[in-house]
């Protein structure tokens, strides 16, 4: 398995957190290698590796970096450590266990795109991460790994931690930029895109924690070697946060293309006597897969998209036959209703409407006709808004109601009974 542990190989060691421990296991050696390369060569290498963003949208990282205007305007690198997608807890582990890995990945990336300043935007509830990363940045400054003339390369880079107040919407890249600018955390209208006009109206690259860390093995082993891992179109490894109805929930790094059922086995498998009902493969925004679809599902961008879902943030939520799909959709809809920033009318009104309809069903007041209305409303929320939150709310609603319609109809018919049972729990 070790060839697939490009990032997490040393995570079990307590020492890996500290600069000394990290360096003892080869830390910051790749940075030295990177400084001997031309910045453009690093970008080319990342492009050639096929690395795709690990934050959710899966956009090719090298291509995104290539969107930066070719001028000498100040540009910013922002690390998205907001990790708000329900079910996702991989960035947290990365920051707690290996803060220097993130910092090294960021310095290499900043060098590649010639950015003098970066921020790590950490989810407000992640106290521990804020503490470890802040301490690690200080260590790095003290060791000359940040600041002026890093390791004698002539490259200057400053890094800072910033944290949100727990709003999911600040995980969207332009929502994050607004928040960082001291504005209300809500996404900005595009175009202009951040690579052209982002933080403080300057060209800005936003990447996820895992994406930035993945730059290290790419520069270390070369694009070819990285591409050899995973599938043709999904190269490299990915951290999956497996949770829900499994014996040993946790984070697992596997090559992309790994069979979903094997991943569930890595997480200890289902609880005794339980049957798999469904899996949400990429965070709560990803359309749910039925047990049957799971049997052949591979954890990569193309296979999940062929099945009408997505890899998203890599949060695998396993649902067994003890769970009720209406309950689960109720929780998910409540979340998006609560988190919509409210700018765009279809999202502001649609998330509330969907949540109210699902909760009516949960309260035993549902009508069969509501199911079609849920589908219609959700369909009209897709692809019509400033950011993807509206789609993120619509997709689970569509997939839950379409794929588990019997269960919803049954709930509506026997609604009072279910609602009463729910009250007794």
């Amino acid at each position: 398995m070790s060839e697939s542990q490009l990032l997490t190989e040393h995570y079990h060691k307590d020492t890996y957190k500290s600069l000394k421990g990290y360096q003892a296991d080869g830390g910051y050696e790749v940075l030295k290698k990177a400084f001997k390369m031309e910045p453009q060569a690093i970008i080319d290498e990342v492009k050639a590796s096929g690395l795709r963003g690990r934050g959710g949208a899966g956009f090719p990282t090298g291509v995104k970096w290539g969107f930066l205007p070719r001028n000498d305007e100040t540009r910013y690198l922002l690390c998205n450590a907001d990790e708000g997608e329900p079910g996702t807890f991989k960035d947290r582990m990365m920051m707690e266990r290996a803060p220097h890995q993130l910092i090294e990945g960021m310095i290499i990336s900043a060098f590649a795109i010639n950015s003098p300043k970066s921020y790590i935007y950490i989810r407000g509830e992640y106290d521990q991460c804020i503490e470890t990363v802040t301490a690690a940045i200080k260590e790095a400054y003290d060791a000359g790994l940040l600041g002026e003339n890093i390791l004698g390369s002539g490259f200057k880079h400053d890094m800072d931690v910033y944290y949100g107040a727990g709003a999911y919407i600040c995980g969207d890249e332009t929502g994050m930029i607004s928040s960082l600018e001291g504005l209300k955390g809500q996404p900005k209208l595009k175009p202009p895109f951040p690579a052209v006009q982002g933080y403080l109206k300057k060209p800005t690259i936003v990447n996820n924690v895992e994406t930035l860390a993945a730059v290290i093995p790419i520069i270390d082993k070369g694009a070819e070697a990285y591409k050899a891992i995973g599938t043709e179109k999904s190269s490299g490894t990915k951290l999956f946060s497996v949770s829900g109805c499994v014996e040993k929930a946790g984070n697992f790094e596997v090559p992309l293309g790994y069979p979903l059922m094997d991943l569930i086995e890595l997480a200890g498998g289902l609880r005794p006597g339980r049957k798999l009902k469904a899996v949400i493969p990429g965070g709560s925004s990803a359309p749910v897969l039925t047990a049957e679809e799971c049997l052949t599902a591979k954890m990569d961008y193309e296979d999940l998209s062929a099945k009408g879902s997505m890899l998203g943030s890599g949060a695998v939520m396993v649902i067994d036959d003890s769970q009720n799909m209406v309950d689960l959709l109720g929780v998910i809809m409540h979340f998006y209703h609560h988190e919509s920033c409210g700018q765009c009318t279809p999202c502001r009104e649609g998330t509330g409407w969907l949540s109210k309809m699902v909760h009516s069903i949960l309260e035993g007041k549902g009508r069969i006709a509501d199911l079609d209305l849920i589908l219609k409303v959700a369909n009209q929320m897709k692809g019509k808004t400033i950011c993807a939150l509206s789609d993120a709310a619509a997709l689970p609603a569509l997939s839950f109601v379409t794929k588990f319609r019997d269960e919803f109809e049954d709930y509506i018919k026997r609604g009072h009974q279910y609602a009463a049972e729910a009250l007794h729990v």
Binding site: S340, Q343, T345, P346, E349, T351, M357, Q380
Partner: protein
């Protein structure tokens, strides 16, 4: 210039124009709430959907630039369906009690719903409750439940006045417009937010629930509040004037006007007006019949050797011309023109947006009329002072002080006044002083020349005081010795013998 086609029609637009601007140029229908040509693009209502070059994706027209050769449509089923749903998303939490809403009749929601919506809302769930009567500041009230969160009002205070009083508080469908503690919406342009609010969420304290808008007529005019000369519409019916709104004028005021300008209809309405010709005797006012008034005028003007005209820049180009002609015909008398500038210290001030210290609509018009102005000291030695008064004496306090001084000298005055001057408490007018009702700018036609030198037209709207005269009409009567339209003047019933002091109406 770029060429593009919109719903099959070709149109040329300047480079850098947005798709929605191209629609507007072509006068092609497109639904929209948040876009406003005077504000930045918010892109939040998501109604202005179009498809481009037959692509499947929907784009918002307000944030898409036209490219040469672009093919744009909003007539496909996909777009129409999206717009119908967009309307429904706007309406599910809207009160829909139009019969009791002040905006009814000029509501963007009603209008666009009739065009693009028209089906029953399918939401069975309870609507979100929000605050109903929120006092935002001196002039504006908010009904949060009617607000569709288009953010126009917020952008106005951020971008136009740069006073930043308004913000959207909370998130999601609990978002609400509001002000920060102790920072009410009190800028000098606050009522523009009411104009641009597409629904009945923001209302003007002055106008709300006064009139149903379909019972009002409107007349185009120019604001007389300062030398900027904003283009306006005045709304009125037989009960009087009710409100003033700005009209887009690219060269002068853009989309906006100031709050003070909106108050200027108030001095036009009947209760504060002088409605008949009065004469002061022994510090009391007596109404004069038409014949007697004319006799008086003729007598006064023929007796006086030394006449002064105390003129302000509040009259029309046409009236100044008449004044000049009139004076030229009285060669045997000394006629002095005294140009009264009320506030020389702040006369040239400008707030950077619209408001100017020169509180007259026609300063350029007066200066270009070719008068030779005399020093104000000549007033003290005049036998008769003709005083075509500023329309709204409240903003001209020094003019009133001057009249008071002259009255103390027992100088005979011939006042042409909009306001009921006889109510003035501290002035003891000299015997023989005449007060003649004057037309306001809304009751006459003519031209003003604003500070830029732009000649702008005012239109005759509703006549509130039938007996009122323009300066030109008064001079004509004096000149030819008869009233021009006696039938109009006569229509006010007056009881010649009764003494009227105090309330006139």
């Amino acid at each position: 210039m770029f060429k593009c086609t919109i719903n099959g029609h070709e149109v040329e637009v300047p480079e850098g124009a947005s798709v929605i601007e191209a629609f507007k140029l072509l006068k092609e229908d497109i639904a929209h709430y948040c876009w406003h040509p005077g504000l930045s693009i918010a892109g939040v209502c998501r109604l202005c959907m179009v498809q481009i070059d037959d692509g499947p994706r929907l784009h918002i027209a307000c944030n898409t630039l036209v490219k040469d050769g672009m093919k744009i449509t909003n007539q496909t089923e996909v777009v129409k369906e999206a717009v119908r749903w967009g309307m429904d998303f706007h309406l599910i939490n809207h009160p829909l009690d139009c019969p009791i809403c002040d905006q009814a009749g000029e509501c963007g929601l009603q209008e666009q719903y009739m065009k693009y919506g028209q089906y029953d809302s399918s939401m069975a769930e309870k609507k979100v409750k929000k605050r109903k009567v929120v006092d935002l500041g001196e002039r504006v009230v908010l009904d949060s439940e009617r607000c569709i969160l288009c953010s126009r009002c917020v952008r106005f205070t951020d971008e136009v006045t740069k006073t930043n009083e308004l913000g959207i508080f909370n998130r999601g469908d609990h978002s609400e417009i509001g002000t920060f503690e102790d920072q009410p919406l009190d800028n000098k342009y606050s009522l523009n937010t009411v104009d641009i609010c597409p629904v009945g969420a923001l209302t003007s304290k002055d106008f709300r629930f006064q009139q149903r808008v379909w019972y009002l007529k409107d007349t185009d005019s120019i604001c007389t509040g300062c030398s900027t000369g904003c283009s306006i519409k005045v709304y009125h019916n037989k009960e009087g004037l009710f409100r003033v709104k700005p009209v887009f004028n690219e060269k002068v005021n853009g989309h906006w006007m100031c709050d003070e300008g909106r108050d200027l209809y108030k001095h036009v309405n009947a209760p504060v007006r002088l409605k008949q010709i009065l004469k002061s005797v022994g510090n009391e006012w007596f109404p004069l019949g038409l014949e007697r008034a004319l006799d008086h005028l003729n007598e006064a003007f023929s007796k006086a050797e030394n006449i002064s005209v105390l003129i302000t820049a509040q009259h029309t180009v046409e009236e100044y011309k008449a004044l000049k002609n009139w004076a030229q015909q009285l060669q045997d008398k000394t006629i002095n023109f005294v140009y009264w500038k009320n506030n020389p210290e702040s006369f040239d001030s400008f707030d950077g947006l619209l408001i100017r210290g020169d509180k007259n609509p026609n300063t350029k018009g007066l200066l270009e009329a070719g008068f030779e102005f005399a020093d104000a000291s000549v007033l003290d030695s005049s036998d008769l002072v003709l005083a075509p008064m500023p329309e709204n004496p409240a903003v001209y306090p020094k003019y009133m002080e001057k009249l008071e001084q002259l009255s103390k000298l027992q100088t005979q005055l011939c006042l042409l006044s909009v306001s009921n001057i006889t109510q003035h408490e501290t002035i003891n007018f000299a015997d023989g002083t005449l007060a003649i009702p004057m037309k306001t700018a809304f009751e006459k036609a003519g031209h003003f020349i604003n500070h830029q030198g732009l000649t702008q037209k005012i239109h005759k709207g509703r006549v509130i005081v039938k007996a009122a005269l323009g300066l030109d009409e008064l001079l004509q009567a004096i000149k030819i010795g008869k009233w021009i339209q006696p039938q109009l003047l006569k229509s006010r019933k007056t009881n010649e013998s009764s003494k009227v002091s105090g309330e006139l109406w």
